[in-house]
């Protein structure tokens, strides 16, 4: 098939598929499809975005993905970018049928990007902002030296997951209570003095005794932002790199926290749409093969495509044809299946999706379990459905990254940085921790500390730029 012909076939198919999608009620941005050779698709896969800045870690990811592709071990069929209009890249050499399925899949992703609440604040012009940032980074390389920029990026990406995606969510008024500490210079003059503190946002500065006012006033989860704004070490270009990496993380964050839903949603719709498209016998078999490849399960990791798909189908069933019990107990009239899944796709993220909709029947049906390492073996450790569900939900919390906050930005009154890990049952990787602290030091320029919990004891790891230390608290 010559290329021109292939394009016109694809256009015809897309016309058809997008019309079907709209009939089903999907609501998506305009889409740019682009057919790319494998190394380009894999480049995009490694960088997350075609225009992103250059760094060896992306080269490493690219090398890994490309090698897998070359040895036929793995394959990315497509890649979609959350932007308006949406960009989607198709792998050159996909068959027409594969591309049909992929287009249906892409449309559903695009609908998800547009309508899921967590994507509300993502920049839809990120392709351009990333390109601009990449250009600036290149200029920094010319100006300050490649090695310097590279090693700074090394340090910055070591902390990149520590952002606060909910910064825009209003804090509850409780948090703005009067400061818990007291200073003797702060005398109560009238019984109504506490009213003033409502205005003070929890800050009280005493000019007489330099009362230890807290800095930051509340523990701050956004390490990237806190360091960018408060490190005395950083030059302008370094602040720029920090804030670019933070912005890009905030852009990718909703995709990370809705992976199961997003892939489930896309799989749900490529199935529904492809059922409406006319296929001949050979195509039907090819389609079935491809779909079953996508939802193939694994004993050691959850497949987001199949897990998401199963949950969406289950929700639809339970709201479309509720059981007697559900009708009475929850007042579900039935016939609301479609409406419900569209609502779920708009309102939830992965952890609430699993918490609210992963039922006992599903856990048992899908044979989900938790496993952990015992000696040299990895063994199934939990089969009870509620524990399994809760275990999965907690592994999705904060996208699976530890919750670490800035506790004190002026520790020991020497401007040292004191970080604290909110221990939630899982210990940190100590080897990694000790290797990460020097990066934090690079960014902060003064001694850095991290408090965490090991074997039920609070431990403080520190690094002063030369060596690390560890002590029990």
């Amino acid at each position: 098939m010559n290329q021109q012909k292939e394009l016109s076939f694809l256009e015809e198919a897309m016309e058809n598929i997008s019309a079907k999608a709209r009939e089903f009620g999907l609501d998506f941005y305009d889409i740019f499809f682009e057919i790319c050779p494998a190394d380009i698709i894999y480049t995009f896969g490694a960088y997350g975005m075609p225009t992103r800045f250059s760094h060896w870690t992306f080269g490493k990811a690219y090398h890994k993905m490309k090698t897998q592709y070359d040895y036929n071990l793995g394959r990315i069929y497509e890649m979609v970018i959350n932007s308006d209009p949406c960009y989607a890249f198709l792998l050159e050499g996909n068959s027409l049928l594969q591309n049909k399925l992929i287009m249906a899949h892409v449309i559903a992703h695009c609908d998800f990007f547009k309508n899921n609440i967590y994507f509300n604040n993502t920049s839809r012009a990120m392709v351009e902002s990333m390109a601009a940032a990449a250009n600036r980074f290149r200029e920094y390389e010319f100006k300050y030296g490649r090695a310097k920029v590279e090693s700074f990026i090394d340090a910055a990406i070591a902390l990149q997951e520590h952002v606060e995606p909910r910064r825009l969510v209003k804090k509850s008024p409780k948090k703005a209570e009067a400061p818990k500490y007291e200073c003797r210079h702060r005398k109560k003059e009238t019984p109504y003095d506490d009213l003033w503190s409502l205005d003070e946002q929890g800050l009280f500065e005493c000019n007489t005794c330099a009362y230890p006012r807290k800095f930051p006033p509340e523990p701050d989860k956004d390490l990237m932002l806190f360091i960018t704004q408060n490190s005395v070490e950083l030059e302008d270009w370094q602040q720029d790199i920090m804030s670019v990496i933070r912005q890009e993380m905030l852009y990718f964050w909703p995709q990370m926290e809705t992976k199961i839903m997003n892939e489930g949603w896309a799989s749900y719709w490529h199935l529904r749409i492809m059922r409406e498209v006319e296929l001949d016998e050979a195509d039907t078999i090819e389609f079935a093969k491809m779909h079953s490849g996508i939802i193939q399960t694994s004993r050691t990791r959850l497949n987001p495509y199949s897990l998401g798909l199963r949950i969406f189908e289950d929700i639809e069933k339970r709201w479309e044809t509720p059981t007697e019990e559900e009708r009475e107990k929850y007042g579900r009239p039935g016939g609301e299946g479609k409406q419900k899944i569209f609502e779920v796709r708009a309102m939830e993220n992965d952890s609430s999706f699993l918490r609210n909709y992963l039922t006992k029947e599903l856990v048992n049906d899908m044979d989900l379990y938790l496993f952990k390492k015992m000696g040299y073996d990895w063994k199934v450790s939990q089969k009870e459905w509620e524990k399994v569900r809760d275990g999965l939900v907690s592994s999705l919390t904060n996208c699976g990254y530890p919750h670490i906050v800035v506790e004190d930005g002026d520790f020991n009154k020497r401007g040292e940085l004191y970080l604290k890990h909110y221990f939630e049952g899982d210990e940190l990787d100590v080897f990694y921790l000790e290797k990460t602290l020097p990066h934090v030091f690079t960014l902060w320029g003064k001694t850095v500390h991290l408090e965490t919990r090991l074997d039920n004891k609070q431990v403080l790891f520190s690094h002063n730029g030369e060596k690390g230390s560890k002590k029990f608290l």
């Binding site: 305009d30 380009i40 490493k60 990791r301 063994k379 450790s381 530890p402 990460t436």
Partner: protein, 382 residues
């Protein structure tokens, strides 16, 4: 409803090289990291026992992307069974230490560190970069000749693949200019120029290496492994750097005998230790086959130092005799799990000859420094 707006295109991506460029940079970093970690890598089991495979895997921890993360091994993870999973089912077993690294079904949970693929040759090149045979002297019989092809000539006839484009074009321009029609056009057969090589011979003094190893009962698997790692690289080094280095393998316990290379590395023996036996054999070999007048002679001996104490004095005597005929004698002592108070090394402290080098290897990472110490070319300048 309005028609969907979409565009399907196919662009020329051939100039998009970002992935390749960063991949290149990553490769550079891998090489840097390997160079920094040579001490650990040199004695990697997968390399010493690489049984002819060309590519080996080298663990590189410094290229991990460090960040705060949970301890994967202590966490619970989600998985999905085929419908009949039960509590306690083993779903995957980590390859246990020491055993062959048979890769499982490719389902191992979370690869803990990054492994780079590298060919043994590439690795050897890095290791050998600054090694050389010390104290090399000009001997009567210059046997070592390394042959090299060097492109240093340009001719009018040659192989098409060796066309010298730049010179050819110069000829065209020259000819055209002479003919009064300057410019670059019309290449005639007379314009063609070819690069051609000349074979050059490099004469060096001849050398023989006497590889001596203790194979007594006290040499456990660890000690043998260390000696083996050292000789592995030594043999490889000598054979890549020089064309005609001869290597003689001598194994000993209470008695010494000459073995083949294969026997030397694979055969285990038992019994007590009498190091002087191997020195004596070495002297005999030298006397019979390698006259010090014609050869540079190097002797290397590895042992755990647990020598028969009555033999120690004799050893010193023999070593001194060896030093008279050798350019260098090296003794490597491998400190095993047991600590001997009176080892051969202590006895050898008496020897003050600068041609004698003594090293102690405590663990695997000691092999590389030992190689460097034995084969540093700069030694003679000291």
């Amino acid at each position: 409803m309005a028609k969907t707006n979409f565009v399907i295109t196919r662009e020329d991506w051939s100039l998009h090289r970002k992935g390749e460029i960063d991949r290149q940079r990553h490769r550079e970093k891998v090489r840097e990291a390997i160079k920094k970690n040579l001490a650990d890598i040199v004695s990697e089991e997968s390399i010493i026992m690489h049984d002819g495979r060309k590519v080996v895997k080298v663990p590189i921890r410094s290229l991990d992307e460090f960040h705060f993360r949970y301890d994967f091994g202590k966490q619970q993870h989600g998985g999905q069974g085929d419908g009949n999973s039960k509590q306690g089912d083993v779903i995957y077993s980590d390859p246990q230490q020491k055993q062959g690294k048979g890769k499982g079904a490719g389902e191992e949970p979370g690869v803990d560190y990054y492994e780079a693929d590298i060919t043994v040759d590439e690795l050897a090149e890095m290791i050998f970069e600054d090694l050389g045979l010390p104290n090399l002297e000009q001997k009567k019989k210059p046997e070592i000749a390394s042959e090299a092809a060097e492109f240093k000539d340009v001719r009018k006839k040659g192989i098409a693949s060796n066309i010298d484009r730049k010179r050819t074009i110069m000829e065209v321009i020259k000819r055209n200019a002479l003919q009064g029609n300057p410019g670059l056009h019309g290449i005639t057969p007379e314009d063609l120029r070819y690069k051609t090589w000349e074979t050059t011979y490099k004469f060096e003094s001849s050398a023989v290496v006497l590889a001596m190893m203790d194979t007594s009962g006290s040499m456990g698997p660890f000690e043998k492994y260390i000696a083996r790692s050292f000789f592995f690289w030594m043999v490889r080094f000598l054979r890549t750097k020089y064309n005609n280095v001869q290597i003689v393998f001598l194994a000993h316990h209470t008695e010494a005998k000459e073995t083949t290379e294969e026997e030397f590395f694979t055969k285990g023996a038992s019994g007590g230790t009498r190091c002087s036996s191997v020195y004596k054999l070495a002297l005999e070999v030298i006397e019979k086959r390698y006259s010090p007048q014609d050869y540079n002679i190097y002797g290397f001996h590895f042992s755990d130092g647990d020598n028969l104490s009555s033999d120690n004095e004799n050893c010193v005597k023999q070593i001194n005799a060896l030093l008279e005929v050798c350019n260098m004698v090296g003794y490597g002592e491998i400190e095993g799990p047991y600590y001997y108070t009176s080892t051969l090394r202590n006895t050898f402290k008496k020897i003050q000859n600068p041609k004698f080098t003594c090293v102690t290897i405590r663990d695997k990472s000691g092999v590389y420094p030992a190689l460097k110490k034995f084969f540093s070319q700069t030694q003679e300048k000291k």
